[in-house]
């Protein structure tokens, strides 16, 4: 056997093993660590950290692509979105993302990234295929949270200092209306049926409920009872419950989506910032910045059933399912 054949067959074997590995890889969490400048990868089957990926300065917003092959993480002080290859668990490229990108959302088809640019008070539209910013629009001051409606038609951007949601028409990338919500709005989540959007307001201690068809504020739910600083929001796949991470409150508020009542507060790690719910709805996860870990919540019992180690300043969570 010639050397060329040996190399070729070895390479093909390696490629095959890679494919097998990917196919066998179980669900994983990718946790951005704001102060460690890394992303921690946690295997949910083994409950263990399997990789720590250096990604750049001040990583915060993090999302997985619909095909699971990529995880995007905004590294604000580098002004880029770092792209992680989920097979190799390494950064394979960096996409310019405007000034100080913080949080972002992906279009349902994965073709576009909508990103908030905190310092320039704008939102940017990134064409993933072209790897560049193809649109910018002025929103409020200190934009943070970004969410896309399930049908991909609307992009909501929260602005912390302005206390507003800028509603952007995804087709034209223009702001069509601006809605006043609670003080210092941060995370946004749409209900799976696209009829509601929930906005966590950190200083107001509230969750603003918006009609996502008319883009009007329809209710304000008070979450504050002590130190709660609502930051992240996630909605159950069946749309029945809304989970709100409360930062300094070190807990998660569980809200009944029908009655808008807080059902209970679940104690989690210190400074619960990011929150995500598994696609099967059985588990919710919070990224806890000060305790540098992830709390695992059983959503049937609404209790913490485990704690997984992450990095310093654990901020956001993406689930590769």
């Amino acid at each position: 056997m010639s050397l060329a054949r040996i190399l070729l067959s070895t390479g093909l074997m390696g490629l095959w093993l890679l494919v097998i590995n990917d196919a066998e890889a179980g669900p994983r969490l990718y946790v951005s660590n704001e102060f460690a400048n890394t992303v921690t990868v946690i295997d949910l089957d083994t409950q263990k950290s399997v990789a720590t990926i250096p990604v750049g300065k001040r990583p915060r917003g993090i999302k997985a692509s619909p095909d699971r092959r990529r995880v995007y993480v905004a590294t604000g002080e580098d002004n880029v979105i770092a792209v992680i290859d989920t097979e190799r668990n390494s950064v394979v490229e960096k996409i310019p993302a405007g000034n100080d990108p913080e949080a972002f959302a992906l279009s349902p088809d994965g073709r576009f990234i909508y990103v908030s640019n905190e310092e320039s008070h704008t939102a940017s539209l990134i064409d993933v295929a072209q790897r560049k910013v193809v649109g910018t629009v002025k929103v409020g001051v200190e934009p943070e949270g970004v969410a896309v409606s399930p049908d991909g038609k609307w992009v909501y951007v929260s602005s912390e200092t302005s206390h507003t949601i800028s509603v952007i028409d995804a087709a034209t990338f223009k702001v069509i209306t601006t809605v006043l919500v609670g003080d210092r709005p941060r995370g946004i989540a749409f209900s799976p049926d696209g009829t509601r959007a929930y906005v966590a307001a950190e200083v107001g201690g509230t969750v603003s409920v918006m009609d996502a068809k008319t883009h009007k504020l329809i209710d304000t739910i008070t979450v504050l009872r002590g130190d709660e600083k609502p930051m992240g929001v996630a909605v159950m796949p069946d749309g029945k419950k809304v989970y709100v991470s409360n930062g300094r409150g070190d807990n998660v508020a569980v809200i009944d989506a029908a009655t808008h009542k807080v059902l209970q507060y679940i104690p989690v790690g210190k400074r619960a910032w990011g929150i995500a719910i598994a696609p099967d709805g059985k588990r919710a996860f919070t990224a806890n910045g000060v305790s540098a870990d992830v709390s695992v919540i059983d959503t049937a019992a609404d209790k913490v059933i485990g704690t997984l180690p992450a990095g310093k300043g654990a901020w956001g969570i993406a689930i590769v399912w």
Partner: protein, 412 residues
Amino acid sequence: MNRRDFLRALAASLAAAPAFLRRKASGAEEVAIGVLVGSGESGRYVVPAAQLAVDEANYVAGAFGKVVRLVTEVATSADDAEKKATKLVRQGGAKAIIGGGNDPLSQAIQAATTREGIIYLNTMSRSEVLRGARCHRLTFHVEASLAMYADAIGQWLVRGAKKTRWGFLTPETEAGAEIERMAERALRRQGGTTVGRQVVSAGTRDYRAALTTLAKAGPDVLVINLAGSSLLTALAQVNELGLHIEVAGVVMDATEFWQAEPTNLAGVWPALWFHGFDRYSGRELNKRLAEALGQPAESRAWANFTAVKAVWEAILRGGRTDTAGLVSFFEKGRGLDAHKGQPLTFRPWDHQLRQPLMVLRCRVPAAGATRWDIFELLGEVPLRGTPGKSQEEILDTLGLSEAESACRFAAL
């Protein structure tokens, strides 16, 4: 009438026109906010910070049918302040005036705004008189009161650092006596004791004998109730004498400290704001303020930014631009977001903004640091664990209580 006079007359007539005539062509209602400051050093931080707040309001104001405009004046005296405040209202169309200066100047603005029937947000004077005997329902205070600063340092040193024995160096002036009265009140409130007191004549520049006498009484803390250049001189003399005793005070102006030789500075001081504060979006605000000012932001910059933001938020959330509407909004106690991590409200009994304060310690800048790096942030007060049934009750551990306050509001 020459061209300049014509333009002046035109501007004045436009400013004095009713609101519906001042609507811009876009249909947005113009809201003018007046800024009036003294001509001293600290005044130069005020307008850029206020303008930043206006610019930020205008990012979204159009979506709510408004456009915010800043009208500014500088006053050289209390008499001048009253004239300029009147001008801001009658010619500039100001719906509110923010700013101030020394106590007489701030009182003059208060007199003018009261007469003109608009609100005044005091951002410069710590005077308890302005909040007490001379209080008025149209006046609100974003700057913290003397008692709040005193309580801040009291909580930090007595409750936090267990430094319970204080000695006071106080000038023989009305202002000095007032500072000492508030500092002693704060000390008693925390259960500490006064172990020495030296009163120095107003004109003296040599505090060494008084400091030495105080040091012999064995205090945990030397509390210096001086201000301005006298304070800087006393601090230099503490260092010269080599006194190894904690130094603290109630009144500190960062802009004055920045001008001093860092090795001559010392002590623990309360502050409204600090340019190194990075919690609750403080880092982001400090960055924006530094860009607007061309240098790091200090307390006055924060106060004036916050005052404009408060007026804008009252208009935005309350939906009214008239005086009764603004007063009603502030008195209802809806929280304001001021980058301090919790909603802030005005106290109903004297219209003082409740807020956490910061505690700073002087330090010599490290090699390569800038001249602004003369403080380190020790923490915030009220201290964590301060008892209280609500955030308001906890914040009310800073400042005079309703029972202590001399303020009695008359109906509007």
